[in-house]
Symmetry: none
Subunit: 236 residues, 4 copies
């Protein structure tokens, strides 16, 4: 509990200056997230971030030593922070692994995909190569944890005899691909969508999750999945 709350009568607002001090980082991170998503990392000027947060140029550097650090803070504030909760949440999941997969995808959408934070992923796809340190950070803080989370879900299905023993890594990428696509449909002008029709994320996720679940399930498998070269088999 801050001093200001001790030595003043309850309910008193802290001095203006102090309140700003506390609020600043958050305001800056919000402004930065907006701009990074809107214009990309390289095209976002620090001064613009300052303007949007209602402070002067120098103030941004008071809280974040460099543009890269600002970006990292944005990532940590908006994405990485979610993982501990998620992991915990899945520890105690009781239903089928198919349900778990769907729940996982839907939850990701609700908490990240549907928010501005998803713009960060688009940004990493677009500019990651030019900022190796940032890319490494993102890899460490977002990609790897995300991969592991999905991997755990699929592995659980296999271990419990719900899923076939497919190559888990490849399967994980399939799930990630769905989510990446959803992000791009939102942030890349829906460029990959037919007729500008906007994709309904929940329906899309439900459909993909169902396909994955069934695609990984045991039961009667349609034969010939991996047999021969179809080009020879099927094409005249």
């Amino acid at each position: 509990m801050p001093l200001s709350q001790i030595c003043c009568e309850p309910g008193a607002t802290p001095p203006k200056r102090a309140r700003r001090k506390q609020a600043r980082p958050g305001e800056l991170l919000d402004a930065a997230l907006d701009l990074f998503v809107e214009k990309g990392f390289a095209a976002t000027r620090m001064e613009e971030v300052a303007e949007r947060a209602g402070v002067s140029k120098g103030t941004v550097f008071l809280y974040f030593p460099s543009k890269e650090d600002l970006f990292k803070a944005v990532v940590r504030h908006n994405i990485s922070g979610q993982f501990p909760q998620w992991n915990a949440e899945f520890e105690s999941f009781q239903g089928s692994s198919a349900d778990m997969l769907r729940y996982c995808m839907q939850t990701w959408w609700d908490r990240v995909g549907a928010t501005k934070a998803s713009g960060i992923s688009k940004l990493m796809i677009s500019e990651g190569r030019n900022f190796p340190e940032i890319a490494a950070f993102y890899q460490l803080e977002v990609v790897t944890p995300g991969h592991k989370l999905i991997q755990r879900v699929l592995q659980r299905g296999i271990d419990q005899g719900e899923f076939r023993a497919v190559d888990v890594n490849q399967a994980v990428y399939g799930v990630i691909a769905s989510m990446v696509f959803l992000i791009l449909s939102k942030h890349s002008i829906g460029m990959c969508l037919k007729d500008d029709m906007t994709l309904d994320p929940h329906a899309y996720i439900a459909c993909q999750a169902a396909i994955f679940a069934r695609g990984l399930s045991l039961g009667t498998s349609p034969e010939g999945q991996y047999a021969g070269t179809p080009s020879q088999a099927g094409l005249q």
Copy 2:
């Protein structure tokens, strides 16, 4: 002195100077494509484009009035004719729809994904938003035809009783998502891959195609796929 400068009967290659002049724009576009794909629009320097094309800085501006114009020219020049004989080829496919889907994906990879052409997809994903006219063009020439092609494959499976009657549009996006992911794994430093492990495209496609085929197949379906909210069902 090369022969071409001596013997000039019609049809002969034009003298070096003239040929260079004619070839210039193409060489510039090639160089620019490479660089835009590799580094993005902002991070690509005009001088670098000139260098890679073997001309001087000023020459680039002789052919393209500005960097933005160069970008637009690059994309437009590479979009044309992305979907040539594809449709015809699939008219006569004889095998199962599962095989057809897999064949379709593999072929796409060999003919497009693995080639330089996939670079413009990456470009559109990364920078499309900043060039709406171009994006519209791309949509018309690439996205829609691609979507239709896959749609036909899935619809064929449903019509022939091989696949379940899922929402075809959503399912198509799943397939596209896989391919987009593959492109990004190639052009975005594989930033979405675990531990920098390089994705083997053929294995990846085989796996995804198998999951899709099975996911869309009839047979014993694990019930409850769409029932209830898993958060209530599965979470304590």
Copy 3:
């Protein structure tokens, strides 16, 4: 609670707060001296001065209206009384003038050169030009007295028939040069030393003093010291 805050009879150390207040300027000057010597005027940040003095940035400006004023205060504060009992001490020296010279240099090193005081010499050498008033002050308080002291030693040697009748002024500068060099070897990263080898001050002084003493001595002089232009005499 420290005793000083309880018992306040006259003469007792003032309460901590007050003592700090009184001590502030001195602590600031000390911190600033260190930093100015180490990094120069331009490269020293006011905040760093504050930090080293254990106060906040604003406080420095409370005592010194600007960085330049701080600099001036630092030098002025440290110049006073550089030459205390020196002269008196040498009145009664009994040995040879050669010994006296060596004793003089060694003593200077022990009492000044080796201490923090030599830092302001370095400061004046480095930044003196930008602060003419200060430089004049330094000239008056340090340079001239020092010069006179050495001059007296050499003159004594000449008067007593120990040294040749060289141009005393020039000779004095030779001695000063040695000492300046020693200061710089200490404060300028020994940039003028070969291979980063650290100079041993006492050995160096012993050597220089010996050379000076012998160089000023009577005895068989190698003739021709001042004759002709060596470029004509020695060069082919």
Copy 4:
């Protein structure tokens, strides 16, 4: 011989642009030397260098990739370049080592000390610590070669039986000290001079060289040079 001189009639001035191109680096180096000496490294703004050379800010960076590189080029252009000639010159020196030493010092003064280039040394003394890379460069290109040159002269004297076998390194520093002092008398407001009297460099060098020569000479040595502690011996 440049092309322009081949394909044009003799005496024709090269096209304006080309001539500037050739002259630019020199003009920039001159402007930079002036400013570095006048204001120091840190305080010299690149734009100012450009202004003084009559070009725009960007042009400086066209020729020198960074401020540090510009500085290095200045050093190389004005100081390091001299050493090869000097070394060669001394290979063939015929006179006594005493003459050689004096000639060496005088020549250094005429070719470097008396020119603006000597300001560089003052600058390194003042700011060397803040720019380690530059300091290392200066050490390599100037300090070490200079030290070696003087060392050779003194060693020659010892080898030829002209000088006593003193510690050569220490003696070298004595010579360097003289020259450093001369530089400082020129660039540090003559701060170490008595009564603002300007030092006559030639007389000063003659005097110092004589003292060194005699100080290093054989002949009857005044006894007791290194004996006892004078403080005990001489002081009452």
